[in-house]
């Protein structure tokens, strides 16, 4: 079995994995980082989005071995201790989550979206969230949250 090694949320992590192990399985099962969720088996839902070397990636679409040597940030690594990241705070303030299952992926996608476009319009936000499905909120408050989060991230 190959050994993979990567930096996850600033800490070095390594483990032996089967070649077929997906990055999301590595994070959830080997590292116990269960904040990253699995909502589908066709790379459609975005519940599994993490950042790999600074880019939002669907971690169900990548083998763990492909992330060998990479720097990965998961939802567990976004807050500063017990202080929420401005995007997390914006989701809370705007009721951008209900059951919370899509939320980690939404937040990771939203941070990536704002990193690439500091002041997204509503249309850009809706387009940018296309790869993330939420069954609970109807997106209305998620869109509001991303807008507010973008403003807060500008400081």
């Amino acid at each position: 079995m190959p050994t993979v090694e990567m930096t996850v949320n600033g800490k070095r992590a390594s483990a032996q994995v089967e070649g077929r192990t997906l990055l999301v399985q590595f994070l959830r099962e080997k590292l116990g980082l269960t904040g990253t969720h699995i909502g589908c088996d066709t790379s459609q839902c975005g519940a599994c989005v993490v950042h790999v070397d600074g880019r939002a990636v669907k971690s169900c679409t990548l083998l763990a071995v492909q992330a060998n040597g990479a720097s990965v940030t998961t939802i567990e690594g976004v807050a500063n201790g017990e202080t929420l990241h401005p995007m997390q705070e914006a989701f809370r303030d705007n009721h951008g989550l209900q059951c919370g299952f899509c939320t980690p992926g939404m937040v990771m996608t939203a941070i990536d979206l704002v990193t690439n476009n500091a002041s997204p319009s509503e249309e850009e936000i809706r387009h940018g969230l296309e790869g993330n499905i939420c069954r609970c909120t109807g997106y209305h408050n998620i869109v509001k949250a991303v807008k507010a989060g973008a403003a807060a991230m500008k400081g």
Partner: protein, 791 residues
Amino acid sequence: MTATGIGASVKRKEDFRFLTGRGTYTDDINRPGQSHAYILRSPHAHAEIVKIDTAAAQSSPGVIAVFTGADYDKGGLPAGWQIHSKDGSPMVEPPHFPLCKDRVRHVGDQVALVIAETYAEAKDAAEKIDVTYKELPAIISTADADKPGKPQVWADAKNNVCYDWHLGDKAATEAAFAKAHHVTKIDLVNQRLVPNAMEPRAAVGDYDRATGEYTLYTTSQNPHVIRLLMGAFVLQIPEHKLRVVAPDVGGGFGSKIFHYAEEALVTWAAGKLHRPIKWTAERSESFLTDAQGRDHVSHAELAMDKDGKFLALRVSTIANMGAYLSTFAPCVPTYLYATLLAGVYTTPAIYAEVKAVFTNTVVVDAYRGAGRPEATYLLERLVDKAAREMKMDRVEIRRKNFISREAFPYQTPVALQYDSGDYDATLDGALKASDWAGFESRRAEARKRGKLRGIGISTYIEACGIAPSAVVGSLGARAGLYECGSIRVHPTGSVTVFTGTHSHGQGHETTFAQLVSDTLGISIDSVEVSHGDTNKIPFGMGTYGSRSLAVGGSAIVKAMDKIIAKAKRIAAHLMEASVADVEFKNGTFTVAGTDKSVPFGTVALTAYVPHNYPITELEPGLEETAFYDPLNFTYPGGCHICEVELDPDTGVTKIVNFTAVDDVGRVINPMIVEGQVHGGVAQGIGQALLESCVYDEQSGQLLTGSLMDYCMPRADDLPNFKVATQSTMCTHNPIGAKGVGEVGAIGSPPAIINAVIDALSPLGVQDISMPATPLKVWQAIQSAPAKMAAE
């Protein structure tokens, strides 16, 4: 109102853990020594199992055990509701074993259970199981299932009929039709939907050899119901030896009410193997095994006098049950559907016939709204069509037939008694908020841009706050539908609330904390809401049918009443006053006419440190439990208005405005209530424009078996919503709450389709079915009687 009290948009207490990845969903739970289950499923819609050879799988690496139907020695999954047919005979109730014995009846049916050290090993081994099937012809179509000569799903169910039921006064209805000035007729399909909560179902079974106790962690909306059904009916494990935990659950929408085969299988096998066993559905499995929703084919007729007053309604519906009866399936197209056919109207005579049929498809059961969206869609499409045929205004025909605000309590001809409502008020609110009056100029402006603009309305009612036990018992329910709430006041004055309801997105940890903190006058941070564990919560019936606040919240209020009553006796003792003179307000006990007072915290401490205490009359401690059985259903209602713009070149429908004005009774947290409406409307838009569960009519293969094929609403498919509440209070529960979880999905689909038809009406198009996809709309335009005039 305080910043965290009743009526305040308090930010949710549960959000921090969800936002930081610290939620605990079932698949996040791992037990020491855990093994993994994979279920081999039928590739055929209908086949005999001739032979299963598991030898190669048994010796596959990592495999602990392989079980088939022949090994399974326990009971089948029960139906929780019994319907009787017109002739008095009980519904056909076929056996539903968690592992198929000799026949598979839908694609995805459970054939074998493989347990291995890892999930991958279990899955690899399942590929080595050799099953010999003898394929049989399948019946898929709802409309054709009861026709003679079709393939039979069950030998006992002749022509695939599960029951043939009716409700209402047939003779009075016929008589009213006989003297009608005009009759409007409509044929409608309410298509099958896949609930698709984002968290796939999962279950972890565990068995403690030391105590003989079983534990099941499961993605459920109602852990006590699962304990009852699985313990008493399926595995024969008594309640005190069975713990069911539903931790954080990632959405349910009905699909996680029911008791599923996998829950029983992991629990049963954990007891046999003495190993914890985890099963988690892949999304493809969810499509093949989660109970699906809707699936009605209906014909309806509305009789009117010359002024457009409704005289009578008759409806006949075929409802698809799928291959088996899911837990609450039988009551959905009967008591949650036909009883709603009066809607918000005074129609004096109604007669409905409902035939439930078996087909070789996944089971159908409650999905957000359950029966009530089907009733609302039928009525509101019919009323719009009636207005067109009578050349009456769509709003006026509704107003003319509304139950007036003075008429409550109002007894409908289909069993329900509405307690309160004001349909003119919600209608007026929605007309104003949507600028209905200004629509024609927007239509004309859109026309100049080459677009077809339309507006549609629906005025609806639903029955929820489920339900008075005696009433549902007389209608066939095999359970009571009360709720349990428990308040534990701790010595230092903080409070744990135990509720039998379950939160899987609804924010109970916040709403119930607001209710308790406001009533007891303590900080919201001192209140913790606990739910989802049968070992912690005395009892519960769970969350569905928009019942949590109306029924579960009322139980909490009743428990608080007991707390306050006892606390008053302690306070009276401390203040040396008579109990009758003690008042409680804002967290302080006072004696009328004196300046004596004692805070809630002191009373709590005294209850647990009873040094100065009326010990001969009163037990120490401060903890109370209450069960609340509602006196009636609750009746949220309202008006939804949708404005669409169609692109005639592509057939794409864009929702440009969506307005919902709902009467949901008392609102505790407006932010959460609005969020519930948003989510419900999104699912309604999904049904109206995007979603449809499609099977191949010949092979029974699910054609929409993944998120690539089944069109879920995404962020750029939906508009922003204008939502508001305009409430009358429920008259029979202590909170005044009616419920909000389902209104969005109930009220919206007909408003959207009525808007699409309105947009197409200049071309002479009269009908379009759900989902109104771009292809369907484009085809309707191409084959329309009138052509688009070139601008």
